[in-house]
Amino acid sequence: MEIITVKSLYFQYEKEPILKNVSFDVKKGEFICVAGINGSGKSTLLKLLLRLLKPTLGCADVLTNNVAYLAQRASAFNPDFPATVAEIVSLGIPIKMNIGLREQRKTVDNALKQMDMLDYRNQSIGRLSGGQQQRVLLAKALVKKPDLIILDEPTVGMDNGAATQICCLLGKLNKKENATLIMVTHDVPLILNHADRILQFEKGGIKLSSPKDFYQNIALHD
């Protein structure tokens, strides 16, 4: 069953088109890795899927409302932003999900534990390192048990160990809880074990390939 259908999608910010005639489908439970050079339109595609932007032409339909999103950002925090880690993560719980305070606390703590950040729950978010902040934001995105997880370079700023750990966690969410994942990364080998398909942004357009093809391509270029 498709969870995302993109058909003849065109998009431009100003005169220059960024996405030209893009079409692809994503099935429920797939793990898609999005790769490509800087400025090729990866983040733009995600924003179109999230309806943060409107297509110039064509359509980008997402058939669920339970979507988690982590935007691309190295870390642009005001170090004085007065909010604790737990307060930020709890923002990820939809208001419609009417749960009590104790339940909410438990959910938040579980999400923080997943990211190894439980010890920091009462710390001020601005006082954490960039990689730690990224983990908190990931916890905020995942706290509501989303059907579809859209991540824009989630491992930026993390050390190698942490990045591998996050990728394994995402792989597990994908396999065990059947979450659909779309993740932009410049470090494709890191998630090649977990991804079902690679969405590669190239000069001419967009190419979908299996992880196997991707490896062969790299081998050819080397």
Binding site: Y69, P82, A83, T84, E87, S90, I95, Q123, S124
Partner: protein, 266 residues
């Protein structure tokens, strides 16, 4: 008791109650404004509010209504310009502020008597029972709505795009918040003065940010600071015959400077 004699004056009782209302609503609004990095919004709205006061005095309608209407118009204009230049939000504030000052200057020149002057620094000890009642009612509404919108407002202040993607009606909430700010400005123009409202929105929040770690904690501290400043300011101005608005702000600044020097660990 010398201190209790304060409460024996009816005008002082009214002033203290009005100050209580103000010390609760201004930090609630102020915290969101500061965290959205729009600290000068209060200035822009209050100066435009003054233009509304002047127009009201010239055309002969209630200047408080004038302040409220003008502040709402300015708030809406701010939102519109902000969406256009999202990276230069402070530009929208400067433009609106200039417009407000210009209009206030022109119309106050035509206003009769010294009425306009009262709204610069407010006259909290001269409010009537009816005015106190309206201030209390409006404050309850502002507090109620801000508590109801607590989480969405925090989410928007933290990261507006993420709030949009989470399905929060960000534009509507920003609009409601603008109206609440205009209400606070109108109340303050009458009581502590239009020139001072913006400081009252910002200084308690800045003080709280020196000692708090969380958002809720910060909000509670802000209200406590604002309460302390307004009460101390009012009482001092009673004994030393000062302008309450000015005394309140100066006490706030003194405490802020002290906190910055002492730098309590958080």
């Amino acid at each position: 008791m010398l201190f209790l004699e304060l409460f024996s004056f009816e005008f002082m009782r009214r002033a203290l109650l009005a100050a209580l209302c103000i010390s609760i609503i201004t930090p609630m609004i102020g915290q969101v404004i500061v965290l959205k990095r729009m600290s000068t919004v209060g200035d822009a709205l209050s100066h435009t509010g003054l233009a509304g006061v002047a127009i009201g005095l010239v055309l002969g309608f209630n200047p408080i209504i004038g302040a409220f209407a003008a502040a709402i118009c300015a708030g809406l204009a701010l939102e519109l310009i902000r969406r256009r230049f999202s990276w230069y939000a402070e530009l929208s504030v400067s433009i609106t502020l200039s417009l407000g000052v210009g209009l206030a200057a022109v119309f106050s020149g035509m206003a009769p008597g010294a009425g306009f002057y009262n709204f610069l620094f407010g006259s909290i000890v001269a409010i009537s029972n009816g005015e106190l009642f309206s201030i209390a009612m409006l404050s309850i509404i502002v507090v109620g709505i801000t508590i109801f919108l607590y989480r969405p407002l925090l989410h928007i202040a933290f990261d507006e795009e993420s709030a949009v993607s989470a399905g929060i009606p960000v534009n509507t909430i920003n609009l409601i918040f603008t109206i609440l700010t205009a209400v606070a400005v109108a109340i303050s123009a009458r009581t502590v003065g239009a020139l001072i409202i913006s400081s009252l929105m910002v200084i308690p929040v800045a003080c709280a940010m020196q000692i708090s770690r969380g958002y809720k904690e910060n909000l509670i501290y802000s209200i406590m600071f604002a309460f302390l400043f307004t009460m101390a300011g009012l009482i001092l101005s009673f004994y030393f015959n000062l302008r309450p608005g000015g005394a309140i702000v100066l006490i706030g600044i003194a405490v802020l400077v002290l906190l910055i020097i002492v730098r309590p660990r958080r």
